[in-house]
């Protein structure tokens, strides 16, 4: 048994060692981008490579989660540029009319996404440019304005009677969804701590939205995030940054809420799809409150930190240990929901998706408890 395990480990190490150098990583990234998205994929990959090597938004390895290399925080900017080129070009040449031009609600949503992305971009370019409380206040303001101007994003039912009775009340419904929206955007930002974690969740989510709706914008988002996922997982040189995670949070939130409000998806489905950032955020807030610290202060007690600590003892490559951590978590949560959706396990509007969500929570808590029991305390982290 032990020899088989050693054999698998040495096989993985050999494969990873072959793709260890920069040029080999670049080769692999470009090949995967070319196979999946052809010339367009190569162009997007080249754009990301150029931006990753710029001095703007450079982040020391010590500043970001579990990364062991200096990296760029301009992933969000690169994704925004790719989506902008694609959408602009497509709407100029084909009969496509972008959502904001034909629907007022989409216009407000994309304005909110723009403000959130700009807020994060300021932080990426000049860290601590805005205080955390000011950023939080701006996010509240933007989300409150969005749901005030476009109430169609507020669902009338989420399948839980207590919340349903509150959400239907005009002011309380608006306040509840605003608080949830700001929490969700922060949760996604907090979960962005391992290669392929948040990008993996994004690819699974846009995969679901694209298969369900077939909108060109979903296709463009799926394309940009797939290329970013390949780049992020193989090289580890690039992070979404605050611009990427705030912007992505606002997009997923808007699309998710609209899907629930229009009855296309149940709230249980969305909860299952976005389980990891939400649960990790809640557990982290509880952990920090119990330790007597600010709920928004950084620490290394997340599940992805614990899992990474476990994996890095078994894989020599620091980047691959980081990437496996992110892919395992995003694959076993949002990735599993994508597969279940593609296999038509349940109708998307079924409340039974809450069972899937509960199963994910159980898996999260079991894994966290296990890693906490076998690992010494990480900085500031208290066991649950």
């Amino acid at each position: 048994m032990l020899s088989a395990q050693a054999c698998v480990q040495s096989l993985i190490s050999n494969v990873l060692a072959k793709f260890g150098s920069t040029s080999q990583k670049l080769f692999l990234m470009f090949v995967l981008a070319g196979i999946s998205y052809g010339a367009t994929g190569l162009g997007a990959m080249l754009l990301m490579t150029l931006l990753a090597n710029s001095q703007l938004g450079k982040d020391a390895s010590s500043k970001h989660g579990i990364s062991a290399h200096d990296s760029s925080r301009l992933g969000g900017l690169a994704i925004a540029i790719v989506i902008l080129i694609y959408t602009l070009g497509f709407s100029l040449i084909s009969p496509y009319t972008p959502g904001p031009a034909r629907d007022e609600a989409f216009l407000y949503l994309w304005c909110a996404i723009f403000f959130c992305t700009a807020l994060g971009f300021a932080e990426d370019v000049k860290p601590d440019f805005l205080t955390p409380s000011l950023r939080l206040a701006v996010k509240f303001l933007v989300m409150a304005a969005l749901f005030g101007l476009a109430p169609k994003f507020i669902p009338s039912s989420v399948g839980i009677s207590i919340i349903d009775s509150i959400i239907t009340l005009p002011f309380l419904g608006w306040a509840l969804v605003t608080v949830f929206a700001v929490g969700f955007i922060n949760a996604l930002n907090m979960a962005d701590g391992a290669n392929g974690l948040v990008p993996g969740i994004a690819v699974a989510s846009f995969g679901v939205f694209f298969v369900e709706y077939g909108r060109p914008m979903d296709g463009a988002l799926l394309f940009a995030f797939t290329i970013f996922l390949i780049f992020n997982v193989i090289s580890g040189w690039y992070f979404l940054g605050d611009a990427g995670s705030y912007g992505l949070g606002a997009i997923l939130l808007g699309y998710g809420l609209l899907g629930v409000a229009e009855g296309q998806f149940s709230a249980g489905f969305m909860a299952a799809l976005f389980c990891y950032p939400c649960i990790d955020f809640l557990v982290s807030v509880i952990r920090r409150r119990r330790a007597g610290r600010s709920p928004f202060s950084a620490d290394n007690g997340h599940l992805h930190n614990r899992l990474h600590q476990f994996i890095k003892l078994r894989i020599k490559s620091a980047v691959m240990a980081n990437s496996f951590t992110g892919l395992i978590i995003s694959g076993s949560t949002s990735g599993a929901v994508l597969i279940a959706y593609l296999m038509d396990v349940l109708p998307t509007e079924s409340d039974l998706w809450y069972l899937f969500f509960v199963a994910e929570i159980c898996l999260y808590l079991i894994a966290l408890n296990y890693f906490t029991s076998i690992q010494p305390k990480t900085q500031y982290a208290d066991p649950l």
């Binding site: 999946s36 994929g41 040449i93 084909s94 298969v211």
Partner: protein, 89 residues
Amino acid sequence: MRILLFFMVAIGLIWIGVLESAMSSVKSFNQHGNAEVLESQRSIHRILALGFVGGRVVSKIVSNDSHVASLNGNETSLGDNGHVAKNSE
């Protein structure tokens, strides 16, 4: 200066995919919204421009709009996904 050239190459390559997907979309409307005709025209040209995943993504966008177009007969209508679906009949 070399960086600028690389940026231009990158944007040019992305533009190839934009052109290919937009042209597929326009062709589909001119062919009476028949997505199957478009499917049969998938060529090496399309694979090079959009790749295997990108080609399927564009097929889905086009077939989705073709469906909207055929449902709406002769009318010029706004598709669910934002295309102005136009039937040439």
